[in-house]
Symmetry: C2
Subunit: 413 residues, 2 copies
């Protein structure tokens, strides 16, 4: 079981969490719980670090920010004990949760589970602070923001858990953002691949990295709400499982699982780039070196022979830096003009079902054209079709597509 | 160097602390720093524990409250780095600082210093969270409130430091409370024994336990103020050293070092207790078993032969519990009446000099009698004379004695 910052925000909320844990224990389950810091606490600690040293040493940053989860793990253990449930906290260095690579964005390599499993078998709930681990040199590490989801999946994999329940402030994964489409439906299940596409294009339910890890380790994840009526069982959320499990269970397949959108894109156009081998590499290599994530790439044949226009998107936050790099590389790339635009959005239809169905993209283009929405760029994967459109049309496009693929619920969500 | 909670309260204050540390480094010293949590933080964390579980498990309490010093140790290391001073934090479990006995009031048994001394020799400032350690079973422990002073003395002893500078919000130890006597003088030095008497009777500058440890380990301690003008050197505080060091330095001896008072006393009187062997034990054994600290004890011969009145003091906070225990023991003790009074105070004159001087007590009794202050009880040790008086006369008594022993400064402090 994993609980996020809003679920752990104060002793009153922690009691609700403890009641959910107690329910699982009473159902006969052996339980490990991974917790986040209280909502706002990590921000407070990060702010302290920035004030202390704007160019902070990430080893010390980790010492400071890891304290937030240390506090909530102790408090949840105390609260469970007060409810008569045996429990103890296991800090990252106590298990230990071994990590490598860099401080502040460490990667879990191994979790020692002997003591943990022995404690769980003895009927004691193990409470584990998320987000933290220990480096090979014995220093504290953290996994980067949102790392507690990854901690939970890693612990679930290490103890070979039947399921990893991630409690959050939404009750599951929806066909699209319910704030845009009131008839959005909660999904009973999605595949890891679908969840990755939905997460990376805007459905902010689970940290992307944790979904990738769950897929790799075969951990069955459930996303569900920690906001339950006192004494009530939590409502079933959305199960994130492998394509094979869905096949085996012969669950009914939708053609399209969901519609995602992302307004954090910016478009860059380089005109009249020489159309020769290696030209494209001179554009994208320096951006990759600067860790800028280039997404949709389209190459148009230019007006002049031997020249081409190159269009692509980058995260809006990286736009200024991208332009600076491209201006610096003008001579080696050899483009004519450098254009950019921030007012764009990416809308995607996602579904494993499209692997075996033609016509998904055509439906999308027709539905958008019928409402006069112009497509600026297209990219596709096995289970996704994305289009870049003018930002102002985002909500309209999402609604149109939600209806076009038959995703609307009978009644409003 | 040790800095308390008010010195560590926020990144701005921590910069002042870092500047003081930098000054020592630039003077060519190898420095370890022990820090408290930000002022108010430990109270906040204790409150969380109480809310989570009124009968809290002290192992988990330790996990929660130790986080406060973890944060400040990381922040001070970051701040030092920002000032160009190499520094790193060493958490209790990283050194480790080994402790035994019970959680929440653990006792340091050993500090491993190899890595610490190597780091300090390499020019890196070691920042160590106070108050915390690690139990033999690998769990987090804390030393009890105010334990950071003890941590500092223990670290100083372990690395064989030349001096342990305890920075606080006062600039040293005074002949008495300057709020009562404006002409109180800051002492240049006191002996460990004097400091113990001054601390335990009310001069709240250093945690008593840390003074005891310093005496046992022969650590030279200086108490001084962390509130200095930017760029200025801190003013010399009060040095706490052995009697022998003072002899060697041939420093001038005062007859009396200081006047202390304690308003947290309550007086209990048992009348007509049988005057037979073992009678007194039946009174004090159950109080000792309940960890109630009995202080001044006077036995008066009673009016009837074979009977005696027994008067003693206990901390005011323990009065109700003491009365309950004594009422329960009425038959076995065999007293007639159980009387008590809270409106009493203990005033003490302290000084190593009195070992070699007669007449110290007589001066005290005469000075108090001259102002009509009635003495209810007297107790003495080698370096202290204490009297119990009516609480309302406390300030008057302190002033009278401060003048009587020639402690008044030329000008007001």
């Amino acid at each position: 079981m994993k609980f996020g910052g809003t679920s752990m925000a104060g002793t009153e909320r922690i009691r609700t969490v403890a009641a959910l844990v107690k329910r699982e224990v009473e159902a006969g389950n052996e339980v490990a719980v991974v917790v986040s810091a209280m909502a706002g606490e990590t921000d407070r600690l990060v702010q302290f670090c920035r004030e202390a040293n704007p160019l902070y040493d990430e080893a010390e940053y980790d010492v400071v920010v890891a304290s937030g989860e240390q506090v909530t793990s102790g408090l949840l253990a105390l609260t469970l004990q007060a409810m008569g449930v045996p429990a103890r906290s296991w800090l990252g260095w106590q298990l230990p949760i071994r990590t490598i690579e860099t401080h502040a964005k460490a990667r879990i390599t191994e979790i020692e589970t002997d003591a943990l499993i022995a404690a769980m078998k003895s009927g004691q709930v193990a409470v584990i602070p998320g987000f933290q681990g220990m480096m090979e040199d014995g220093r504290v590490s953290t996994l980067g923001r949102g790392g507690s989801d990854t901690s939970a999946v890693a612990v679930a994999a290490a103890v070979k858990a039947d399921r990893c329940d991630i409690y959050t402030d939404v009750d599951g994964v929806y066909t699209t953002d319910p704030r845009i489409v009131s008839r959005a439906r909660k999904l009973d299940y999605v595949t890891y691949e679908e969840m990755l596409e939905l997460a990376s294009v805007g459905a902010k339910v689970l940290q992307t990295r944790s979904v990738g890890l769950a897929m790799k380790m075969g951990v069955r994840v459930q996303v569900l709400s920690s906001f339950v009526e006192p004494g009530q069982a939590p409502k079933a959320g959305t199960l994130i499982v492998s394509d094979e499990e869905i096949e085996e269970l012969k669950m009914e397949r939708q053609l399209i699982t969901g519609i995602a959108y992302d307004k954090n894109e910016a478009k860059i156009i380089l005109t009249r780039v020489p159309d020769r081998p290696g030209a494209v590499a001179t554009i994208f290599k320096p951006l990759a070196d600067a860790a800028i994530n280039v997404d949709m790439i389209i190459q148009n044949v230019g007006r002049e022979k031997g020249e081409t226009d190159v269009t692509f998107t980058v995260p809006r936050a990286d736009l200024a830096r991208s332009l600076e790099i491209l201006e610096g590389g003008k001579d080696s790339i050899g483009y004519n003009r450098l254009l950019h635009e921030s007012g764009v959005a990416k809308v995607s239809v996602v579904g494993v079902g499209m692997k075996s169905h033609a016509g998904v993209a055509a439906t999308m283009f027709e539905a958008l054209a019928a409402r006069g929405i112009n497509i600026q760029a297209i990219s596709t994967s096995e289970i996704k079709v994305s289009v870049l459109i003018e930002e102002d049309y985002t909500e309209l496009a999402v609604r149109v597509l939600h209806t076009a693929y038959g995703l609307d619920a009978e009644e409003a969500a």
